[in-house]
């Protein structure tokens, strides 16, 4: 295990320690509710007995509760709106399964004028969901991305370039093949959707990051859009029992055709598995493993020239495989004027990474989300 993964492991252990602390505190609170928040946990503690509720409370009670353990699909007639902020910090160059130095990048690739040493990406994602029936939930998702990349020259000087723009619009349908959202338990959901090329593939910044220099097109990873349509097939398994909820999901991005710059990004295969525990009515920590395999670019953008000056502009140096370990928790507001709001915080780091490099490896990532169902 190299130094970077050691650092990540320590970071992860710290995160897990903090989460365990919060979990223990919440457990103490659920055992002594009188000392904690003024929230009636009775329906959560004894889910079978609702006779203590008044007629009005029963009248307003959701059958499928959008509680801390989530639902992923929605019951008939329900809307959900959401916002998610995602931050990725990529630092250190990797080739294959190991780290390499910028000096090695330059030595192995005489045509490269620059090596990238760091990239930061911020994404603001908005999504809306609606369920026309218990079996079918529809979703539309659009995000805005901001990216910056630090370049190292052969003369050992650095400069940064920035790009931002709207990402591709994704529209999906989720159809429950097996199981029943109203009953809970095991469910199998078929996911199918389409990605539309609404994102820009012509984001530019000044050459060498110098405002006096002309604008130049930024490399493939710095473009927010793909420029092509894509199919989004997938399958989701969901399970819950008592305070536990778990699931697994696979979503593929199968890109179609070529964009106006004569290339197509590689297909993506995403797999994820998670487990969550509802400590009390409003707090559920969870763990998630997320694996991603993505391919090289097909074709090439002529804007980068016949001999690109960086790896990020080379179509054959874009593929990779990564597995991230993520820890997070959901907080749900079960009553009051904020009732129905749900907040999620998730952070993680890679535990396996194999890149057709030289490419920047992922250092760590954090997601903060909010959803409201009505």
């Amino acid at each position: 295990m190299n130094k970077r993964y050691c650092k990540n492991t320590v970071r992860g252990l710290r995160l897990a320690f903090v989460l365990c602390g919060l979990l223990s505190l919440s457990m103490m609170e659920s055992r002594a509710p009188a000392m904690g928040m003024d929230m009636d946990m009775a329906p959560f503690m004894k889910p079978g007995d609702l006779t203590g509720l008044s007629l009005q409370e029963l009248y307003n009670l959701d059958i499928v509760q959008m509680n801390v353990l989530g639902a992923h699909t929605h019951p008939a007639g329900e809307f959900m709106v959401g916002y998610q902020f995602m931050y990725m910090d990529m630092e250190g160059i990797r080739s294959g399964g190991h780290a390499i130095s910028p000096a090695e990048v330059f030595a192995q690739n005489p045509s490269f004028a620059f090596a990238h040493t760091r990239m930061e990406m911020e994404e603001h994602m908005f999504d809306v969901m609606y369920a026309p029936s218990d079996r079918l939930t529809l979703m539309a998702m659009l995000s805005y991305k901001q990216m910056s990349m630090v370049h190292l020259t052969r003369a050992n000087t650095t400069f940064s370039q920035h790009g931002d723009g709207i990402n591709d619009l994704q529209v999906m349908g989720m159809y429950t093949l097996l199981g029943d959202i109203r009953k809970g338990g095991n469910r199998l959901v078929l996911d199918g959707g389409m990605s539309f090329p609404t994102g820009s593939i012509d984001v530019r910044d000044h050459r060498l990051g110098d405002p006096s220099q002309p604008l130049q097109k930024l490399e493939y990873p710095m473009q927010p859009g793909s420029g092509t349509y894509a199919l989004l097939p997938g399958l989701t398994y969901l399970g819950d029992a008592g305070r536990w909820a778990w699931g697994a999901q696979t979503i593929e991005t199968i890109r179609l055709g070529r964009n106006s710059s004569s290339y197509r990004l590689g297909n993506e295969y995403l797999g994820s598995a998670w487990g969550a525990y509802g400590v009390c009515e409003w707090f559920a920590p969870y763990m998630r493993l997320e694996g991603k395999v993505w391919g090289n670019v097909h074709g090439a953008d002529p804007a980068y020239g016949a001999v690109p000056a960086t790896a990020e502009a080379r179509p054959d140096k874009q593929a990779g495989q990564r597995v991230n370990a993520l820890f997070g928790f959901d907080v749900y507001v079960p009553k009051g004027i904020m009732m129905g709001n749900r907040f999620t915080i998730e952070g993680g780091f890679p535990i396996y990474e194999h890149l057709t490099g030289p490419q920047l490896g992922l250092s760590w990532t954090i997601n903060v989300g909010w959803t409201y169902a009505f």
């Binding site: 008939a76 007639g77 199998l188 398994y237 819950d240």
Partner: protein, 181 residues
């Protein structure tokens, strides 16, 4: 790609194993019926029966279920509760004699075909008939559960209740969708 093929096979195998695993589905609570059970309990407090039609104080007051019982264990918490000075009992019923011993009778969706005969046989009985069959209240039943945007709501046929001498409280009527036969 061979790697991808193996990954897929493993994922499918894992899904099948999870699917076949016993337990979770079997004991997962059906919240819809927990809500309906709590409503049945509440109905007892918001409906007035002619005094002579109720069993004597200190005896039992009964909620019956006719047909396939969709509640599972959701009715269990109701058993033994004190309502109107009587002890609440819950039982599955089939004979005409048992039906008439109930104060509330839940008619399961499995009885849809023989609903006209059932309602006819209960025409003069001081029983609050409750169901979840489409159009139940319009066909002469008293209370029908309906599904509305992820919530359990209900229709009430007040004329049907009046014809049996039952008085439904205004608080219950306020929340109901009132329908006619």
């Amino acid at each position: 790609m061979r790697f991808k093929g193996i990954l897929w096979l493993r994922a499918i195998a894992a899904l099948l194993v999870l699917w076949a695993a016993p337990g979770p589905a079997a004991f997962a609570g059906t919240r819809e019926y927990e809500i309906k059970a709590a409503y049945l309990y509440n109905f007892l407090n918001y409906i007035e029966w002619p005094e002579q039609s109720l069993p004597p104080a200190g005896s039992n007051i009964t909620i019956g279920v006719v047909g396939e019982n969709p509640f599972g264990p959701a009715l269990d918490p109701l058993k033994g509760k004190q309502v109107k000075g009587r002890t609440l009992t819950v039982k599955e019923v089939s004979s005409a004699e048992d039906l008439k011993g109930c104060q509330i009778l839940f008619i399961s969706a499995s009885e849809k075909e023989r609903l006209p005969q059932l309602l006819e046989s209960l025409k003069d009985a001081k029983i609050v008939t409750v169901s979840e069959i489409d159009g139940f209240a319009q066909r002469g039943g008293i209370i029908n559960f309906i599904y509305e945007r992820n919530r359990v709501r209900f229709e009430i046929n007040q004329d049907a209740a009046r014809s049996k001498g039952l008085t439904i409280s205004s608080d219950l009527l306020k929340l109901a969708r009132v329908v006619k036969s």
